[in-house]
Protein backbone atom coordinates (compact mmCIF):
# COMPACT_ATOMS: atom_id res chain seq x y z
CA UNK A 1 0.00 0.00 0.00
CA UNK A 2 2.75 2.37 1.01
CA UNK A 3 4.80 1.46 -2.11
CA UNK A 4 1.79 2.29 -4.27
CA UNK A 5 1.49 5.61 -2.49
CA UNK A 6 5.18 6.33 -3.06
CA UNK A 7 4.91 5.56 -6.76
CA UNK A 8 1.92 7.79 -7.04
CA UNK A 9 3.79 10.61 -5.33
CA UNK A 10 6.79 10.09 -7.58
CA UNK A 11 4.64 10.31 -10.68
CA UNK A 12 3.09 13.49 -9.39
CA UNK A 13 6.54 14.96 -8.92
CA UNK A 14 7.59 13.94 -12.44
CA UNK A 15 4.43 15.47 -13.90
CA UNK A 16 5.00 18.64 -11.94
CA UNK A 17 8.66 18.92 -12.98
CA UNK A 18 7.93 18.12 -16.61
CA UNK A 19 6.00 21.41 -16.81
CA UNK A 20 9.35 23.14 -16.34
CA UNK A 21 11.28 21.10 -18.88
CA UNK A 22 12.85 23.09 -21.68
CA UNK A 23 13.91 22.01 -25.13
CA UNK A 24 17.63 22.16 -25.79
CA UNK A 25 18.75 23.97 -28.95
CA UNK A 26 20.29 21.82 -31.65
CA UNK A 27 24.06 21.38 -32.02
CA UNK A 28 24.38 23.91 -34.81
CA UNK A 29 22.67 26.64 -32.78
CA UNK A 30 24.98 25.99 -29.83
CA UNK A 31 27.98 26.14 -32.16
CA UNK A 32 26.75 29.40 -33.72
CA UNK A 33 26.26 30.94 -30.28
CA UNK A 34 29.78 29.99 -29.21
CA UNK A 35 31.14 31.44 -32.46
CA UNK A 36 29.18 34.67 -31.99
CA UNK A 37 30.32 35.06 -28.37
CA UNK A 38 33.91 34.28 -29.27
CA UNK A 39 34.29 37.73 -30.79
CA UNK A 40 33.57 39.37 -27.43
CA UNK A 41 36.01 37.33 -25.35
CA UNK A 42 38.88 39.71 -24.55
CA UNK A 43 42.40 38.49 -25.16
CA UNK A 44 44.95 38.98 -22.42
CA UNK A 45 47.45 41.66 -23.47
CA UNK A 46 50.44 39.67 -22.26
CA UNK A 47 49.26 36.58 -24.11
CA UNK A 48 48.76 38.54 -27.33
CA UNK A 49 52.39 39.62 -27.37
CA UNK A 50 53.65 36.16 -26.61
CA UNK A 51 51.37 34.69 -29.25
CA UNK A 52 52.76 36.95 -31.95
CA UNK A 53 56.37 36.10 -31.45
CA UNK A 54 56.31 32.37 -32.09
CA UNK A 55 53.84 32.82 -34.95
CA UNK A 56 56.35 34.82 -36.98
CA UNK A 57 59.04 32.29 -36.15
CA UNK A 58 56.67 29.43 -37.00
CA UNK A 59 55.76 31.05 -40.31
CA UNK A 60 59.42 31.71 -41.11
CA UNK A 61 60.35 28.12 -40.33
CA UNK A 62 57.57 26.78 -42.48
CA UNK A 63 58.32 29.16 -45.34
CA UNK A 64 61.99 28.19 -45.23
CA UNK A 65 60.97 24.64 -46.16
CA UNK A 66 59.31 25.98 -49.27
CA UNK A 67 62.05 28.30 -50.51
CA UNK A 68 63.19 27.42 -54.03
CA UNK A 69 66.38 25.54 -54.82
CA UNK A 70 67.63 28.65 -56.64
CA UNK A 71 67.69 30.55 -53.34
CA UNK A 72 69.69 27.88 -51.52
CA UNK A 73 71.98 27.48 -54.52
CA UNK A 74 72.61 31.25 -54.59
CA UNK A 75 73.61 31.12 -50.91
CA UNK A 76 75.92 28.19 -51.47
CA UNK A 77 77.56 29.80 -54.50
CA UNK A 78 77.96 33.03 -52.54
CA UNK A 79 79.85 31.21 -49.79
CA UNK A 80 81.96 29.07 -52.11
CA UNK A 81 82.86 31.95 -54.44
CA UNK A 82 83.83 34.18 -51.50
CA UNK A 83 86.07 31.53 -49.94
CA UNK A 84 87.62 30.52 -53.25
CA UNK A 85 88.34 34.09 -54.34
CA UNK A 86 89.86 35.25 -51.06
CA UNK A 87 91.36 32.21 -49.33
CA UNK A 88 92.61 30.25 -52.35
CA UNK A 89 93.18 32.94 -54.99
CA UNK A 90 94.31 35.64 -52.58
CA UNK A 91 91.74 38.15 -53.87
CA UNK A 92 90.62 41.31 -52.11
CA UNK A 93 88.15 40.34 -49.34
CA UNK A 94 86.49 43.75 -49.40
CA UNK A 95 85.86 43.70 -53.12
CA UNK A 96 84.60 40.13 -52.77
CA UNK A 97 82.00 41.10 -50.17
CA UNK A 98 81.17 44.32 -51.99
CA UNK A 99 80.04 42.34 -55.03
CA UNK A 100 78.90 39.01 -53.59
CA UNK A 101 77.12 39.94 -50.36
CA UNK A 102 73.78 41.16 -51.79
CA UNK A 103 73.41 38.43 -54.45
CA UNK A 104 71.53 35.82 -52.33
CA UNK A 105 69.20 38.54 -51.07
CA UNK A 106 68.44 39.74 -54.60
CA UNK A 107 67.78 36.16 -55.75
CA UNK A 108 65.77 35.52 -52.58
CA UNK A 109 63.38 38.35 -53.43
CA UNK A 110 62.09 36.20 -56.29
CA UNK A 111 60.85 33.78 -53.62
CA UNK A 112 59.59 36.50 -51.29
CA UNK A 113 57.17 37.94 -53.84
CA UNK A 114 56.52 34.65 -55.62
CA UNK A 115 52.83 34.47 -54.63
CA UNK A 116 52.16 37.98 -55.91
CA UNK A 117 54.13 37.44 -59.12
CA UNK A 118 52.60 34.00 -59.83
CA UNK A 119 48.98 35.03 -59.24
CA UNK A 120 48.53 33.26 -55.89
CA UNK A 121 47.98 36.40 -53.89
CA UNK A 122 44.20 36.55 -54.28
CA UNK A 123 43.95 33.11 -52.75
CA UNK A 124 46.50 33.74 -50.01
CA UNK A 125 44.74 36.93 -48.93
CA UNK A 126 41.76 34.82 -47.87
CA UNK A 127 43.82 32.63 -45.53
CA UNK A 128 44.15 32.74 -41.78
CA UNK A 129 47.69 34.13 -41.81
CA UNK A 130 47.66 37.47 -43.54
CA UNK A 131 49.67 37.76 -46.72
CA UNK A 132 51.86 40.53 -45.23
CA UNK A 133 52.87 38.11 -42.45
CA UNK A 134 53.89 35.52 -45.02
CA UNK A 135 55.89 38.07 -47.04
CA UNK A 136 57.62 39.36 -43.91
CA UNK A 137 58.39 35.80 -42.79
CA UNK A 138 60.01 35.06 -46.16
CA UNK A 139 61.87 38.37 -46.07
CA UNK A 140 63.10 37.45 -42.59
CA UNK A 141 64.50 34.12 -43.82
CA UNK A 142 66.21 35.67 -46.83
CA UNK A 143 67.67 38.53 -44.79
CA UNK A 144 68.73 36.43 -41.80
CA UNK A 145 70.33 33.69 -43.87
CA UNK A 146 72.15 36.20 -46.05
CA UNK A 147 73.43 38.03 -43.00
CA UNK A 148 74.58 34.79 -41.41
CA UNK A 149 76.51 33.84 -44.57
CA UNK A 150 78.13 37.27 -44.67
CA UNK A 151 79.17 37.06 -41.04
CA UNK A 152 80.65 33.63 -41.68
CA UNK A 153 82.65 34.99 -44.62
CA UNK A 154 83.81 37.99 -42.56
CA UNK A 155 85.00 35.67 -39.80
CA UNK A 156 86.91 33.45 -42.23
CA UNK A 157 88.51 36.47 -43.95
CA UNK A 158 89.43 37.96 -40.58
CA UNK A 159 91.11 34.79 -39.44
CA UNK A 160 92.71 33.56 -42.66
CA UNK A 161 93.13 36.58 -44.97
CA UNK A 162 93.11 40.12 -43.62
CA UNK A 163 92.07 41.56 -40.26
CA UNK A 164 88.74 43.33 -40.62
CA UNK A 165 88.46 46.91 -39.46
CA UNK A 166 85.13 48.45 -38.55
CA UNK A 167 85.53 51.40 -40.94
CA UNK A 168 86.33 49.16 -43.88
CA UNK A 169 83.42 46.92 -43.01
CA UNK A 170 81.15 49.97 -43.12
CA UNK A 171 82.51 51.30 -46.43
CA UNK A 172 82.90 48.08 -48.40
CA UNK A 173 80.11 46.00 -46.99
CA UNK A 174 77.46 47.67 -44.82
CA UNK A 175 76.82 50.70 -47.05
CA UNK A 176 76.75 49.01 -50.49
CA UNK A 177 74.90 46.02 -49.05
CA UNK A 178 72.08 47.99 -47.41
CA UNK A 179 71.85 50.40 -50.34
CA UNK A 180 71.60 47.56 -52.82
CA UNK A 181 68.98 45.56 -50.91
CA UNK A 182 66.94 48.73 -50.20
CA UNK A 183 66.97 49.53 -53.91
CA UNK A 184 66.12 45.96 -54.97
CA UNK A 185 63.29 45.75 -52.43
CA UNK A 186 61.95 49.07 -53.69
CA UNK A 187 61.99 47.77 -57.29
CA UNK A 188 60.31 44.53 -56.20
CA UNK A 189 57.55 46.46 -54.46
CA UNK A 190 57.01 48.75 -57.40
CA UNK A 191 57.38 46.12 -60.15
CA UNK A 192 57.73 42.35 -60.35
CA UNK A 193 60.75 40.70 -58.75
CA UNK A 194 61.56 39.06 -62.06
CA UNK A 195 62.34 42.59 -63.27
CA UNK A 196 63.89 43.89 -60.05
CA UNK A 197 66.38 41.04 -59.63
CA UNK A 198 68.19 41.27 -63.00
CA UNK A 199 68.26 45.08 -62.88
CA UNK A 200 69.82 44.97 -59.41
CA UNK A 201 72.31 42.27 -60.40
CA UNK A 202 73.35 44.28 -63.47
CA UNK A 203 73.83 47.37 -61.33
CA UNK A 204 75.87 45.43 -58.79
CA UNK A 205 78.06 44.00 -61.52
CA UNK A 206 78.71 47.48 -63.01
CA UNK A 207 79.56 48.92 -59.59
CA UNK A 208 81.84 45.98 -58.83
CA UNK A 209 83.65 46.38 -62.14
CA UNK A 210 84.03 50.10 -61.53
CA UNK A 211 85.43 49.50 -58.04
CA UNK A 212 87.98 46.97 -59.30
CA UNK A 213 89.04 48.94 -62.40
CA UNK A 214 89.36 52.43 -61.00
CA UNK A 215 91.49 53.13 -58.01
CA UNK A 216 89.01 55.20 -56.04
CA UNK A 217 89.95 56.26 -52.53
CA UNK A 218 86.69 55.62 -50.74
CA UNK A 219 88.30 56.47 -47.42
CA UNK A 220 88.64 60.11 -48.56
CA UNK A 221 84.97 60.54 -47.62
CA UNK A 222 84.73 61.08 -43.83
CA UNK A 223 83.38 58.32 -41.60
CA UNK A 224 80.25 60.22 -40.47
CA UNK A 225 79.23 60.67 -44.13
CA UNK A 226 79.42 56.91 -44.68
CA UNK A 227 77.47 56.38 -41.48
CA UNK A 228 74.81 58.86 -42.64
CA UNK A 229 74.41 57.00 -45.96
CA UNK A 230 74.19 53.70 -44.08
CA UNK A 231 71.52 55.03 -41.73
CA UNK A 232 69.57 56.52 -44.65
CA UNK A 233 69.59 53.10 -46.37
CA UNK A 234 68.43 51.45 -43.15
CA UNK A 235 65.62 54.00 -42.85
CA UNK A 236 64.57 53.26 -46.44
CA UNK A 237 64.43 49.55 -45.55
CA UNK A 238 62.35 50.34 -42.48
CA UNK A 239 59.88 52.30 -44.64
CA UNK A 240 59.69 49.46 -47.14
CA UNK A 241 58.98 46.89 -44.43
CA UNK A 242 56.23 49.13 -43.07
CA UNK A 243 54.83 49.39 -46.58
CA UNK A 244 54.65 45.59 -46.67
CA UNK A 245 53.09 45.45 -43.19
CA UNK A 246 50.28 47.73 -44.38
CA UNK A 247 49.76 45.46 -47.39
CA UNK A 248 50.31 48.26 -49.92
CA UNK A 249 52.22 46.16 -52.44
CA UNK A 250 49.47 44.46 -54.42
CA UNK A 251 46.48 45.30 -56.59
CA UNK A 252 43.88 44.31 -53.98
CA UNK A 253 44.96 46.97 -51.51
CA UNK A 254 43.14 49.67 -53.46
Amino acid sequence: MSRQKNNHQENEWIDWLSEYSIEYPDGEKIEDTIFALHAYVPERKKQRFLKKLPLIVQNAFHESLNMSRTFWAANLIHLMAGLLFVVYLGGDPFLSLFVLAPIPFIIGLLDVFRSRDEGMIELELSFRYSHSQVILARLGIVGAFNLACNLLLWSVFHLFAEPVLLMEMLIYWAVPYTLMIAMCLFLSLAFKSIFAAPVSLAMLFILGMAASQFDIDYKALPGPAWLAVFLAALFALYLEVNFIKRGRYHEFSR
Binding site: S68, E118, G119, M120, E122, L123, E124, F127
Partner: protein
Protein backbone atom coordinates in the same frame (compact mmCIF):
# COMPACT_ATOMS: atom_id res chain seq x y z
CA UNK B 1 24.41 30.00 -39.59
CA UNK B 2 23.88 33.28 -41.31
CA UNK B 3 25.95 35.47 -43.59
CA UNK B 4 24.52 38.90 -44.28
CA UNK B 5 25.57 41.82 -46.46
CA UNK B 6 24.13 45.26 -45.91
CA UNK B 7 24.37 48.15 -48.37
CA UNK B 8 27.66 46.71 -49.65
CA UNK B 9 29.42 49.09 -52.04
CA UNK B 10 32.79 49.00 -53.75
CA UNK B 11 34.13 51.89 -55.81
CA UNK B 12 37.25 52.01 -57.93
CA UNK B 13 37.72 55.72 -58.50
CA UNK B 14 34.59 56.86 -60.29
CA UNK B 15 33.48 53.32 -61.19
CA UNK B 16 31.00 51.60 -58.87
CA UNK B 17 31.70 47.86 -59.13
CA UNK B 18 29.18 46.86 -56.44
CA UNK B 19 26.34 49.14 -55.56
CA UNK B 20 24.50 48.90 -52.24
CA UNK B 21 24.05 45.12 -52.28
CA UNK B 22 21.92 43.78 -49.45
CA UNK B 23 21.07 40.15 -48.79
CA UNK B 24 21.22 37.23 -46.42
CA UNK B 25 22.54 33.70 -46.89
CA UNK B 26 21.88 30.55 -44.91
CA UNK B 27 22.79 26.88 -45.55
CA UNK B 28 22.59 25.87 -49.22
CA UNK B 29 23.87 26.79 -52.66
CA UNK B 30 23.44 30.34 -53.94
CA UNK B 31 24.06 31.00 -57.61
CA UNK B 32 25.27 34.48 -58.47
CA UNK B 33 24.42 35.15 -62.06
CA UNK B 34 25.57 38.10 -64.10
CA UNK B 35 27.34 39.10 -67.28
CA UNK B 36 31.02 40.06 -67.34
CA UNK B 37 31.56 43.25 -65.36
CA UNK B 38 28.30 42.90 -63.41
CA UNK B 39 30.13 42.91 -60.05
CA UNK B 40 30.16 39.17 -59.31
CA UNK B 41 33.88 38.92 -58.73
CA UNK B 42 33.96 42.11 -56.66
CA UNK B 43 31.20 40.75 -54.43
CA UNK B 44 33.00 37.42 -54.03
CA UNK B 45 36.29 39.15 -53.22
CA UNK B 46 34.63 41.24 -50.54
CA UNK B 47 33.02 38.14 -49.02
CA UNK B 48 36.41 36.41 -49.02
CA UNK B 49 38.06 39.48 -47.35
CA UNK B 50 40.34 39.90 -50.34
CA UNK B 51 38.90 43.32 -51.16
CA UNK B 52 37.62 45.81 -48.61
CA UNK B 53 34.21 47.36 -49.19
CA UNK B 54 34.08 51.11 -49.70
CA UNK B 55 30.98 51.17 -47.54
CA UNK B 56 28.45 48.76 -46.08
CA UNK B 57 28.92 45.73 -43.85
CA UNK B 58 29.31 41.97 -44.06
CA UNK B 59 28.42 40.01 -40.94
CA UNK B 60 28.62 36.36 -39.99
CA UNK B 61 26.14 35.24 -37.34
CA UNK B 62 25.55 38.89 -36.54
CA UNK B 63 29.21 39.91 -36.08
CA UNK B 64 31.10 42.08 -38.56
CA UNK B 65 33.63 39.92 -40.43
CA UNK B 66 36.40 42.50 -40.00
CA UNK B 67 35.81 42.35 -36.26
CA UNK B 68 36.09 38.55 -36.49
CA UNK B 69 39.29 38.78 -38.58
CA UNK B 70 41.12 35.45 -38.76
CA UNK B 71 38.21 33.76 -36.97
CA UNK B 72 36.13 34.53 -40.05
CA UNK B 73 38.90 33.45 -42.42
CA UNK B 74 39.01 30.16 -40.48
CA UNK B 75 35.47 29.34 -41.61
CA UNK B 76 35.73 30.31 -45.28
CA UNK B 77 37.04 28.47 -48.30
CA UNK B 78 37.70 30.52 -51.41
CA UNK B 79 38.36 29.58 -55.00
CA UNK B 80 39.14 32.69 -57.04
CA UNK B 81 38.31 32.98 -60.72
CA UNK B 82 41.96 32.87 -61.77
CA UNK B 83 43.87 30.57 -59.46
CA UNK B 84 47.61 30.80 -59.96
CA UNK B 85 49.22 27.65 -58.61
CA UNK B 86 52.86 27.16 -57.70
CA UNK B 87 53.73 25.19 -60.80
CA UNK B 88 56.75 23.46 -59.31
CA UNK B 89 54.82 22.04 -56.36
CA UNK B 90 53.28 18.58 -56.54
CA UNK B 91 49.54 18.37 -55.85
CA UNK B 92 50.22 16.96 -52.39
CA UNK B 93 52.88 19.52 -51.48
CA UNK B 94 50.69 22.35 -52.73
CA UNK B 95 47.78 21.27 -50.53
CA UNK B 96 50.03 20.75 -47.50
CA UNK B 97 51.47 24.22 -48.01
CA UNK B 98 48.01 25.79 -48.23
CA UNK B 99 46.94 23.81 -45.14
CA UNK B 100 49.82 25.37 -43.21
CA UNK B 101 48.80 28.85 -44.36
CA UNK B 102 45.28 28.09 -43.18
CA UNK B 103 46.68 27.21 -39.77
CA UNK B 104 45.95 23.49 -39.85
CA UNK B 105 47.87 21.15 -37.60
CA UNK B 106 50.46 19.11 -39.55
CA UNK B 107 48.98 15.68 -38.79
CA UNK B 108 45.40 16.78 -39.38
CA UNK B 109 46.52 18.42 -42.63
CA UNK B 110 48.08 15.19 -43.93
CA UNK B 111 44.87 13.25 -43.27
CA UNK B 112 42.71 15.99 -44.82
CA UNK B 113 44.92 16.22 -47.92
CA UNK B 114 44.59 12.45 -48.50
CA UNK B 115 40.84 12.66 -48.09
CA UNK B 116 40.44 15.62 -50.45
CA UNK B 117 42.71 14.23 -53.15
CA UNK B 118 40.42 11.20 -53.16
CA UNK B 119 37.30 13.37 -53.21
CA UNK B 120 38.41 15.41 -56.22
CA UNK B 121 39.80 12.38 -58.03
CA UNK B 122 43.44 13.44 -58.01
CA UNK B 123 44.89 10.84 -55.62
CA UNK B 124 46.65 9.04 -58.46
CA UNK B 125 48.51 12.20 -59.51
CA UNK B 126 49.39 13.42 -56.02
CA UNK B 127 53.12 13.36 -56.80
CA UNK B 128 52.75 15.13 -60.15
CA UNK B 129 53.60 18.81 -60.45
CA UNK B 130 50.52 21.02 -60.70
CA UNK B 131 52.13 22.87 -63.61
CA UNK B 132 51.46 19.78 -65.75
CA UNK B 133 47.74 19.61 -64.86
CA UNK B 134 44.89 20.28 -67.30
CA UNK B 135 42.42 23.14 -66.68
CA UNK B 136 39.91 20.77 -65.09
CA UNK B 137 42.51 19.23 -62.81
CA UNK B 138 43.66 22.69 -61.72
CA UNK B 139 40.09 23.60 -60.84
CA UNK B 140 39.76 20.39 -58.86
CA UNK B 141 42.95 21.10 -56.91
CA UNK B 142 41.48 24.59 -56.43
CA UNK B 143 38.31 23.23 -54.87
CA UNK B 144 40.37 20.83 -52.74
CA UNK B 145 42.38 23.70 -51.25
CA UNK B 146 39.15 25.58 -50.56
CA UNK B 147 37.83 22.61 -48.58
CA UNK B 148 40.99 21.99 -46.53
CA UNK B 149 39.71 23.79 -43.45
CA UNK B 150 36.25 22.22 -43.75
CA UNK B 151 34.74 25.68 -44.36
CA UNK B 152 31.25 26.64 -43.32
CA UNK B 153 31.19 29.19 -46.13
CA UNK B 154 32.46 28.18 -49.54
CA UNK B 155 33.00 30.97 -52.08
CA UNK B 156 33.70 29.88 -55.65
CA UNK B 157 34.09 32.43 -58.41
CA UNK B 158 33.27 31.22 -61.95
CA UNK B 159 34.71 27.77 -61.26
CA UNK B 160 33.66 26.21 -64.55
CA UNK B 161 34.81 28.82 -67.05
CA UNK B 162 37.24 27.22 -69.44
CA UNK B 163 36.24 23.67 -68.56
CA UNK B 164 34.92 21.18 -71.11
CA UNK B 165 31.31 19.91 -70.62
CA UNK B 166 32.42 16.66 -68.96
CA UNK B 167 34.58 18.51 -66.43
CA UNK B 168 31.78 21.01 -65.82
CA UNK B 169 29.31 18.26 -64.97
CA UNK B 170 31.87 16.58 -62.75
CA UNK B 171 32.55 19.85 -60.96
CA UNK B 172 28.86 20.62 -60.53
CA UNK B 173 28.22 17.20 -59.02
CA UNK B 174 31.19 17.58 -56.71
CA UNK B 175 29.93 20.96 -55.52
CA UNK B 176 26.45 19.61 -55.01
CA UNK B 177 27.74 16.69 -52.96
CA UNK B 178 29.72 18.90 -50.56
CA UNK B 179 27.13 21.62 -50.14
CA UNK B 180 25.08 19.93 -47.40
CA UNK B 181 26.01 21.80 -44.24
CA UNK B 182 27.56 24.91 -45.78
CA UNK B 183 26.72 28.19 -47.35
CA UNK B 184 27.98 27.84 -50.92
CA UNK B 185 28.24 31.00 -53.01
CA UNK B 186 28.88 30.24 -56.64
CA UNK B 187 29.22 32.97 -59.22
CA UNK B 188 28.87 32.16 -62.88
CA UNK B 189 27.61 33.34 -66.20
CA UNK B 190 26.88 29.77 -67.26
CA UNK B 191 23.24 29.10 -66.42
CA UNK B 192 23.47 25.32 -66.38
CA UNK B 193 26.05 25.46 -63.55
CA UNK B 194 23.39 26.48 -61.07
CA UNK B 195 20.11 25.48 -62.68
CA UNK B 196 19.60 22.33 -60.65
CA UNK B 197 21.65 22.92 -57.51
CA UNK B 198 20.92 26.49 -56.43
CA UNK B 199 18.57 27.18 -53.58
CA UNK B 200 18.44 30.83 -54.61
CA UNK B 201 19.77 32.81 -57.53
CA UNK B 202 21.10 36.34 -57.27
CA UNK B 203 21.03 38.37 -60.43
CA UNK B 204 23.60 41.13 -60.60
CA UNK B 205 23.58 43.80 -63.24
CA UNK B 206 25.96 46.76 -63.42
CA UNK B 207 26.90 46.26 -59.78
CA UNK B 208 23.33 46.17 -58.52
CA UNK B 209 21.48 43.19 -57.09
CA UNK B 210 18.27 43.10 -59.07
CA UNK B 211 16.87 39.76 -57.87
CA UNK B 212 17.48 37.24 -55.10
CA UNK B 213 14.93 34.47 -55.37
CA UNK B 214 14.54 30.74 -55.80
CA UNK B 215 14.90 29.51 -59.40
CA UNK B 216 11.18 28.73 -59.48
CA UNK B 217 10.21 32.24 -58.33
CA UNK B 218 12.60 33.78 -60.81
CA UNK B 219 11.16 31.76 -63.66
CA UNK B 220 7.75 32.92 -62.53
CA UNK B 221 8.82 36.51 -63.34
CA UNK B 222 9.05 35.62 -67.04
CA UNK B 223 6.17 33.21 -67.13
CA UNK B 224 4.02 33.90 -70.19
CA UNK B 225 6.82 35.81 -71.89
CA UNK B 226 8.50 32.93 -73.71
CA UNK B 227 7.15 31.98 -77.13
CA UNK B 228 7.78 29.43 -79.82
CA UNK B 229 7.29 30.78 -83.32
CA UNK B 230 7.47 28.90 -86.59
CA UNK B 231 8.98 31.32 -89.13
CA UNK B 232 9.86 31.19 -92.79
CA UNK B 233 13.50 31.66 -93.75
CA UNK B 234 12.97 35.21 -95.09
CA UNK B 235 11.30 36.38 -91.84
CA UNK B 236 14.14 35.35 -89.57
CA UNK B 237 16.02 38.62 -89.81
CA UNK B 238 12.92 40.62 -88.99
CA UNK B 239 12.22 38.58 -85.87
CA UNK B 240 15.83 38.87 -84.77
CA UNK B 241 15.85 42.64 -85.11
CA UNK B 242 12.57 43.14 -83.23
CA UNK B 243 12.68 40.49 -80.48
CA UNK B 244 15.04 38.73 -78.09
CA UNK B 245 15.60 35.44 -79.86
CA UNK B 246 17.01 32.75 -77.58
CA UNK B 247 17.18 29.83 -79.93
CA UNK B 248 16.75 29.01 -83.62
CA UNK B 249 16.04 25.42 -84.65
CA UNK B 250 16.07 24.85 -88.41
CA UNK B 251 13.39 22.57 -89.84
CA UNK B 252 11.81 21.78 -93.20
CA UNK B 253 9.40 24.75 -92.96
CA UNK B 254 12.10 27.28 -92.10
CA UNK B 255 12.95 27.60 -88.42
CA UNK B 256 11.40 27.44 -84.99
CA UNK B 257 12.36 30.46 -82.90
CA UNK B 258 12.35 30.76 -79.11
CA UNK B 259 11.43 34.37 -78.39
CA UNK B 260 11.23 36.33 -75.12
CA UNK B 261 8.59 39.01 -75.43
CA UNK B 262 5.85 40.60 -73.33
CA UNK B 263 3.41 40.24 -76.20
CA UNK B 264 2.97 37.37 -78.66
CA UNK B 265 5.42 37.97 -81.53
CA UNK B 266 2.98 36.46 -84.03
CA UNK B 267 -0.65 35.33 -84.00
CA UNK B 268 0.51 31.72 -84.31
CA UNK B 269 3.07 31.94 -81.47
CA UNK B 270 2.76 29.26 -78.79
CA UNK B 271 3.63 29.82 -75.13
CA UNK B 272 6.66 27.87 -73.87
CA UNK B 273 7.76 26.89 -70.39
CA UNK B 274 10.56 29.33 -69.41
CA UNK B 275 14.01 28.12 -68.40
CA UNK B 276 16.97 29.89 -66.84
CA UNK B 277 18.57 30.56 -70.20
CA UNK B 278 15.48 32.54 -71.16
CA UNK B 279 15.79 34.39 -67.88
CA UNK B 280 19.44 35.20 -68.57
CA UNK B 281 18.54 36.48 -72.02
CA UNK B 282 15.74 38.54 -70.55
CA UNK B 283 18.09 40.37 -68.21
CA UNK B 284 21.35 40.41 -70.11
CA UNK B 285 20.48 40.63 -73.80
CA UNK B 286 22.37 43.90 -74.27
CA UNK B 287 25.45 42.30 -72.69
CA UNK B 288 25.23 39.44 -75.17
CA UNK B 289 25.00 41.99 -77.99
CA UNK B 290 28.05 43.80 -76.66
CA UNK B 291 29.96 40.53 -76.44
CA UNK B 292 28.93 39.63 -80.00
CA UNK B 293 30.05 43.05 -81.23
CA UNK B 294 33.45 42.51 -79.61
CA UNK B 295 33.86 39.21 -81.46
Amino acid sequence: MNLAVEQLTKRFGGHVAANEITGEFTKGVYGILGANGSGKTTLMRMLATVAHPTSGTISFNGVDIYELGDRYRDVIGYLPQHIGLYKNFTAEKFLLYIAALKGLDKRAAAVKVDELLELVGLAHVRKKKVGTFSGGMKQRIGIAQALLNDPRILIVDEPTSGLDPKERIRFRNLLSSISGERIVLLSTHIVSDIEFIAKEILILKEGRLIHKRSPRDLLETISGKVWLVQAAEHDLHQYQSHYKVGNIVRNEKGAELRIISDIPPSPTAKKAVPNLEDLYLHYFEEDLDAAAAQV
